[in-house]
Every structure is written in structure tokens, then in C-alpha cells.
Symmetry: C2
Subunit: 229 residues, 2 copies
Amino acid sequence: MKLFHEYRNPSLAVDLVVFGYHDNTLSVLLLNRKEEPFKDCWTLPGGFLQMEETFLDTCSRILQTKLGMNEVFLEQLYSFDDPGRDPRGRVIAVGYYALINPAKFKIVAGSMANDVKWFNVRKLPVLGFDHKYIFKAALQRLKSKILYHPVGFELLDELFTITELHELYECILHTTLDRRNFRRKILDAEYVINTGMKREGLKNRHPELYRFNKHLKKNNFQINVPTES
Amino acid sequence: MKLFHEYRNPSLAVDLVVFGYHDNTLSVLLLNRKEEPFKDCWTLPGGFLQMEETFLDTCSRILQTKLGMNEVFLEQLYSFDDPGRDPRGRVIAVGYYALINPAKFKIVAGSMANDVKWFNVRKLPVLGFDHKYIFKAALQRLKSKILYHPVGFELLDELFTITELHELYECILHTTLDRRNFRRKILDAEYVINTGMKREGLKNRHPELYRFNKHLKKNNFQINVPTES
DNA sequence: ACAAAAGTGTTTAGTGTACACCCATGT
DNA sequence: ACATGGGTGTACACTAAACACTTTTGT
């Protein structure tokens, strides 16, 4: 049995769509590149797969070195193979998306970037490479995922109110959802546990604080989005 | 701006899960390998990405040379990155699945394989590499996809009866679905067009023949599977 | 007392499910 | 005439949507 020698292989990059939620806004982290190609352009954070790394290893390395983050929700999106997607040569990109709570991290621009900034997902600048399409795939995936799976908690604080969760859903789905029906669905599904505590110091009635119920086997909720016409 | 030179990069393979449906059975195409590694083992058909190819180019080349097929439904599944998945060295695999009508192709074993055979998806042999997991991902994707999207037609003849479509769904989902409710859903969604013709020469009443309605914009059907408990 | 947001309940329309029944064909 | 599968209709249960109302807090 022959081992491989080095044939000509495409390079393999991992590109990250890092979502954060703050002040009723869903944002993505973008880097401003210091070097060609796409110097001074905004792009998704990314990096090349090292020989001994798994994709998740590469994700962690990027998150750590370029953004100063660790231990976040990550999921593979899709692999992008347009031969012209990188002017430096043939590069395949594996897209991942991450969900983080911006309050937990102080983002830092690594040595490769002029700047790192959160951008409202509805007000993105022009992106380098094919990152526009990777981003679109990520947002679409997040929108679908949140309808059936309890991923919203990754974006919120450990304790949150139903209203905060409701606002998060409306923000991500970019639509309105009936407050009372939403509450019932979430509670019936038992994806949240009432802590008995209340959020103090608000102008009006103090809402109850909930915590994510991690130990629940079945996916038994579904949020429906109004059909637009 | 520097161009790339050859860093050490993993090899990139494309592995195919080719589904076919015949005689009320959903099958997958497997190759019996002539060479190490996994000599004489059954594996998914696959091949290495050439420098100038897209993933779909590679898929077509594999389908053409190893199986004698062309022009089939293809969709990307997932990328598999376990560093130990190929004993020859670091190989990333991009999984695709294909839906074909076995009646339309005469499969041929390419020079690399001892044999090519259809296997019932519920009675698979042990597979080489990590192909068991690629297959599992494919079957799961097909099961989900068929609930919301009209992909079943790729597996059937151009003209088919509602009963044939119904049996296909039961076979893929591995469950029973009420015959009459299934019919209504499919017809209401207008995914099929009644041709006016009938299937002749059967023992009983001659069922009407339908054709897939390719020119339909919206996905407006959903098949529900009974919840098992 | 009032405003504003949180929390609870109810009515109604629509949809999916489980059936029963008739129809067409070959033996 | 009967068996067998194809085609049509309907009653019921269940769910989701729309909405009204009460409660709690700060001013």
C-alpha cells in the first residue's frame, strides 16, 4: 500500500461567520484586512487548515488568535469551491458559523487585521472574496435552525426573560411573532426553566428570569413564521 | 500580492452516495476495491479533486468513469475531516449524494473496482474508510429533504402513479403513511400533473399516470411522519 | 391614578388524521 | 360475482392564531 506524496492539492481555508446579539441587533464580526488580496476590505475571519488540524481546531485557533474567544457554539455550513474565489490560487473554503454572546468577550484585532468590528446583519459593507455568499448561507441556516432547535440561548446571557428571547427571535427572523403564542410554545416545550428570580429595577412589572433547560431530549417545538405575500 | 506556492495541504476527495430506487427498495451503489487500502472492501465511489475541477466536475467524472452515468441530481452533504479517515494520509472528504433512476443506466465497474453493486440501504455490508458515516448523513438528508421538497421524482420514471410515489415515500421514510391523505397533499401542492393516460395491463383498476410539475415556484407541501414512541 | 410592560385565558378558524365508501379491472 | 387495488368524500380531534383581560411596577 502506497502512501501519498504531495500531489498538487488546493489549499483549504476555514471561514467563520460569527454571530453576536446585542441591543436588539444581530451582528456579524468582520475583519478589515491589512494585506492583499482585498487589502482594506471587510471580510469574514478565516484561516488555512494546518495539516494536523480538524476543522474545529482551525475554528478555535482563528477565534482565539484573531478574536480572543473560546468555547463557542460552532456548526459546519457548506464548502465553497468556485475556482476563482481567491485570487492567490485555488482555495476551497469550508464555512462554519458561530454563535456568541458579545458581552462575554472583548474582541481583539489580531496582527493580520487593521480592525475588527460588529456589523448589523442588515447593513453589511461589501465583502471580499465570496464571503457575501458564505454569510448568506449562514444567516439562512440560523433562521431555519432557530425554528426547530434551541440555539437562541447561545446568544443570550445565562439568565433571560421570555420577552428577551422573543425579541431575539423577531430580530433573527426579521418578522413579528405574537408575544403570547410565542411564550406558550416555548414554555410548553420546556426548553426554559423558571428560576423564580425576577429582573429588578425596570420601569414596569418585573419579568421572571429563565435559564436554558439543557437536559431535554426531544425537539418538540416549532415556531412558524407568517407567510409573506 | 503574493501568489500561493505549494504549502503542505491535505488531499481533497469527493465521495458519492448514489441512491437508486427499484422494486420497492432504496439502494446505494457500492464499489468493491481492487487496491489497498480497504482492498476487497465495499466503499462509496469517490475520487480526488483535480486542481481545476469544481466539486460537481469531480462528481460528474466519478459518475461517468466509474459508473457510466451522467446528468443526475446532486447535492452537497457535508465535509468530513477526521485526520485518521484515510490510512494513506490526510484526506478531507466532501460528501455528495445523487438520486438516479437505475432503469436509465447500465452501471459499469471502472478499472479501479472489482465490482459495482446496488445494496439495499437497510442491509449494507461493512464499509471502508468512514463511509458508514457519510452514508448515514446522506440517508438522513434524503429523509428530511423529501418531506418538504419534490425530490422523489428523480428516482422514478417520467410517468408514475400516485401509488408508486406513495410507496417510494414509505420506503425512504421507512414508515407507513395514510394512502388517501398522502394523495391529497401531493395533489393539493400541484407538484404532479395528471397526464390523462393510465397504466394499462394491471390486474385491477388502471391508475392514472402523472408527471412532475417542474414549473412550480413555492414549496407548499409537507409530509408528516408518525411520531414513534 | 396612570402608563407600560408582564403574565394568563379564551374563542375561533384551519389543518391533519382516521376513517368509510364507491369505482374500475381481471379472473 | 368477487377480489383487489385505485379514487373520492367526510367527521372529528387537535393545533395555532387572534384577541381580551388582569397583574405588577415606577412615576
